[in-house]
């Protein structure tokens, strides 16, 4: 980045070289965002322990400008879903995601958050948080080592680098609809599936009669 700033493609007069640099707005915008991603203080399970280790002295997440863990979604840029997502917990996670302001990013840390992991068959387990909120980076591992998480964070930085002010969704005129919060009924219910649930339940009842 520094190299690019000191050697832009557009010629700068010699007398101005010390004080002027030329770059694109996108680059400055993305550079500042990627270097100050504030994650949310949000631990679910075992992976949260490795997340804490990533933030601790040995691995030192602050090298990437990400050490400012915020305890409120309103001030967070990044949600690291670190652990098994259960049916009982998923309404809260979706609500937290809805409360984060744009631009916001989600990392699914570990096997459970990515796809259910070893607990996928469990009756109280959601097989991956991407069934409810959009995920930017998946970090494999059970749990991922701090190095793996850092690799995921670098991948997220690369993703931010590739975005452009012209087409990012948070500057579009249409408003972002919040993700419908799942409901705890006889089982977890996605409000988007109510019609399907009703239909299937009637079919099942008809089958039972026949």
């Amino acid at each position: 980045m520094i190299d690019e700033l000191s050697n832009p493609d557009i010629p700068v007069p010699d007398e101005l070289k010390a004080s002027v640099t030329i770059t694109t707005l996108d680059k400055i915008y993305n550079w500042s965002r990627r270097s100050s991603i504030w994650p949310m203080v949000f631990g679910l399970a075992c992976c949260a322990i490795e997340m804490i280790c990533t933030a601790a002295s040995r691995f030192d997440i602050s090298r990437f400008g990400m050490e400012v863990f915020r305890a409120t979604p309103r001030q967070s840029d990044l949600m690291i879903v670190s652990g098994t997502v259960t049916k009982k917990m998923v309404p809260q996670i979706v609500r937290l995601y809805n409360q984060m302001p744009e631009p916001r990013y989600v990392i699914a840390m570990g096997a459970c958050a990515s796809g259910g992991g070893p607990f996928k068959e469990g009756y109280n387990v959601v097989a991956g948080i991407d069934k409810y909120v959009p995920v930017d980076v998946y970090v494999p591992g059970c749990p991922p080592t701090p190095q793996a998480l850092l690799h995921g964070l670098i991948k997220l930085q690369e993703k931010i680098d590739s975005q452009s002010l012209r087409d990012v969704r948070w500057y579009k005129s249409e408003t972002n609809e919040p993700v419908p919060v799942p409901v705890l009924g006889p089982d977890l219910m996605d409000p988007r599936q109510y019609q399907l649930i009703k239909q299937r339940a009637l079919q099942a009842a008809a089958q039972a009669e026949a």
Partner: protein, 589 residues
């Protein structure tokens, strides 16, 4: 006493004579203890507690036997003076199971009975607060019953035919009409459905308007929810607190936000497949979870663990204890408001220990290290560019003691720590025993009860170490007990490193993926960093356990949280929770 020796006593001859009508010895093959009639249960349990002296109810759990149409509730009681325990059972009709509640005699049964109600639908007569505990109110079905199947159900037992030998795997989502792990009762209509809101819990602790400030000013009480997403709850745990000003009037823990169905999955797994799952219970102490599970299955199998493996086990378990206590102290300080910095110091040495685990077992946290009859791998030759034994000697003789002394020097006499911790969250000894508290929580109340001494397992009887107790039972004493215990663990590690036999086998017999375990029941327990961790395993002689229950110390220790917090300020609730030191993976399982 060797690792495979039974921990449950021969029958005290007089119990069946005392109650000729209600008590019979359990004569099924491989089973121990007594079967008590439901009508006599309260009377018998009272005698067991008061006349026989089994004052500590360790575990309560259910087992489903659809063939005899019965659900059995199994109790394991022990004496805090040490020695083997007593195991008694009540059988209830599966169609309408009702069992008298033992909460009046052993308050520590409260959450465990609620769990049985949640999982099996057993109603406990006289229980003060019989609601679901791990699942939410309104969930359809009792999941641990053998005939209840989850939507992603594939087969009764593993290994599944789709994985082995055929290997034709399909994503479970493709088999489910909703593309998710959900199912609904027939004729269920979400549009007509009214939610079972959480009125039950709020009704229980309904605040009454009172007169604060010495009775002159009329004040309202306030309900505050702390969690499930809150930085101070050590995970996804929720406390519903009734406040009068800043003073806690009542507190109800709400859990299950990390309920990952260990037991249901565990009963489908083969015996060995459960080993990596035990890592994920108390994920700060995976080695000692392995140990407890290995012990309980080894009891059924009757294997003798080789000498070097016993030493390796004790070494790993004690290092785990140091890690876990370091973590507990670091985050207790976090809860006190010393945000992050003390925790950074406390978990610094943990990284060294994790390096040893990673080099030995292959993973930093989820070690999956122990096997039935030994351990999976020997120590590596070198570690961090050093001979492993040199590294270990330096670790246990110098570095760890130095780190513990450093914590001690910075914290123990800190004025802030003392004024926030002394006299806060006091738990008297009798109450600690009655509520089945375990681990540092129990010993900080002055009860000299450490399973490594009270009911020795593995090779702990060979080592010289003290059981650490403190008399006051407050947060400060719990902190001190943890510091003391780390020092004792270092002493044990020093003796292990000095006395470990070089070479020799580390696993009895040849490694087997699919062991057939003789029929019977077994309760193996160890002193985990958080307290008494027990595994209740029932085998039918096949390769998969019929029942796999985890007696989790964090879960049972939470039973008294509400009791201990009453009367304190809300900021102290966070500290008291931190001093109990829970891990949600184990609370919710």
């Amino acid at each position: 006493m060797s690792a495979t020796a039974p921990t449950v006593a021969a029958l005290p001859a007089n119990l069946a004579e005392h109650f000729p009508a209600g008590v019979v010895a359990d004569t099924r093959k491989g089973y121990e203890g007594y079967v008590v009639g439901a009508a006599q249960l309260l009377q018998v349990a009272g005698a067991i507690r008061d006349k026989l002296g089994y004052n500590y109810l360790s575990s309560v759990t259910g087992v489903d036997y659809p063939e005899s149409n019965q659900i059995e509730v199994v109790y394991h009681a022990y004496k805090t003076s040490g020695g083997p325990g007593l195991n008694f059972k009540v059988q209830a009709d599966r169609n309408d199971p009702v069992v008298p509640s033992l909460v009046g005699l052993y308050p520590g049964a409260e959450f465990q009975e609620r769990e049985i109600f949640d999982m099996y639908g057993v109603r406990f007569d006289g229980h003060p607060d019989l609601r679901r505990i791990l699942m939410w109110d309104g969930f359809a079905g009792y999941p641990l019953r053998k005939d209840w199947k989850e939507p992603f159900f594939e087969e009764d037992l593993k290994p599944f035919a789709s994985r082995w030998p055929g290997g034709d795997v399909r994503r479970s989502e493709e088999l489910d009409p909703f593309g998710a792990n959900v199912q609904y009762p027939p004729e269920f209509d979400p549009y007509e459905w009214t939610p079972e809101t959480e009125t039950a819990i709020y009704k229980l602790i309904q605040p009454k308007a009172g007169n604060g400030n010495g009775g002159h000013l009329k004040t309202d009480k306030l309900i505050v929810n702390i969690g499930p997403q809150h930085p101070s709850t050590h995970g996804v745990f929720r406390m519903v607190v009734v406040l009068d000003g800043e003073t806690v009037v009542d507190l109800k823990p709400v859990m299950g936000y990390l309920h990952r169905n260990h037991e249901k999955i565990g009963e489908r797994n083969t015996f060995l497949q459960n080993m990596p799952y035990t890592d994920r219970l108390d994920y700060l102490a995976s080695m000692s979870n392995n140990h407890a599970y290995a012990l309980s299955v080894e009891r059924l199998m009757g294997v003798k663990v080789p000498e070097r493996a016993e030493y390796l086990r004790v070494l790993m378990v004690e290092l785990t204890r140091i890690c876990s206590h370091m973590w507990a102290i670091g985050f207790l300080l976090n809860d006190l408001g010393a945000f992050q910095t003390p925790a950074l110091y406390a978990i610094k040495e943990r990284e060294l220990i994790l390096d040893l685990f990673e080099a030995t077992a292959g993973s930093r946290m989820m070690c999956n290290y122990m096997r039935f009859g030994g351990v999976s791998r020997d120590l590596p030759a070198a570690l961090r560019d050093e001979n492993t034994m040199d590294f270990l000697r330096d670790l246990v003789n110098n570095r760890l003691s130095y780190a513990i002394d450093e914590l001690d020097r910075f914290l123990t006499n800190s004025e802030i720590l003392r004024s926030r911790c002394i006299g806060v969250g006091v738990l008297p000894a009798e109450k600690a025993i009655a509520y089945s508290a375990a681990g540092p929580l129990l010993r900080a109340s002055g009860v000299n009860y450490d399973l490594r001494r009270a009911d020795p397992y593995s090779i702990y009887d060979r080592f010289d170490f003290n059981v650490c107790t403190r008399p006051n039972g407050d947060v400060y004493d719990r902190y001190l007990v943890r510091i003391d215990e780390m020092r004792e663990s270092v002493r044990i590690c020093q003796q292990v490193v000095a006395g470990m036999p070089t070479g020799g086998e580390i696993l009895a017999g040849k490694p087997q993926y699919n062991v057939r375990v003789p029929a019977g029941e077994s309760y193996g327990r160890v002193e985990n960093p958080k307290g008494e961790l027990g595994f209740y395993v029932v085998s039918t002689g096949k390769t998969n356990p019929w029942r796999y229950h985890v007696r989790a110390p964090s879960f049972v220790n939470l039973t008294l949280l509400g009791e201990v917090c009453k009367g304190h300020k809300i900021a102290d609730v966070v500290v008291i929770l931190g001093s109990i030191d829970i891990v949600l993976g184990e609370v919710d399982r």
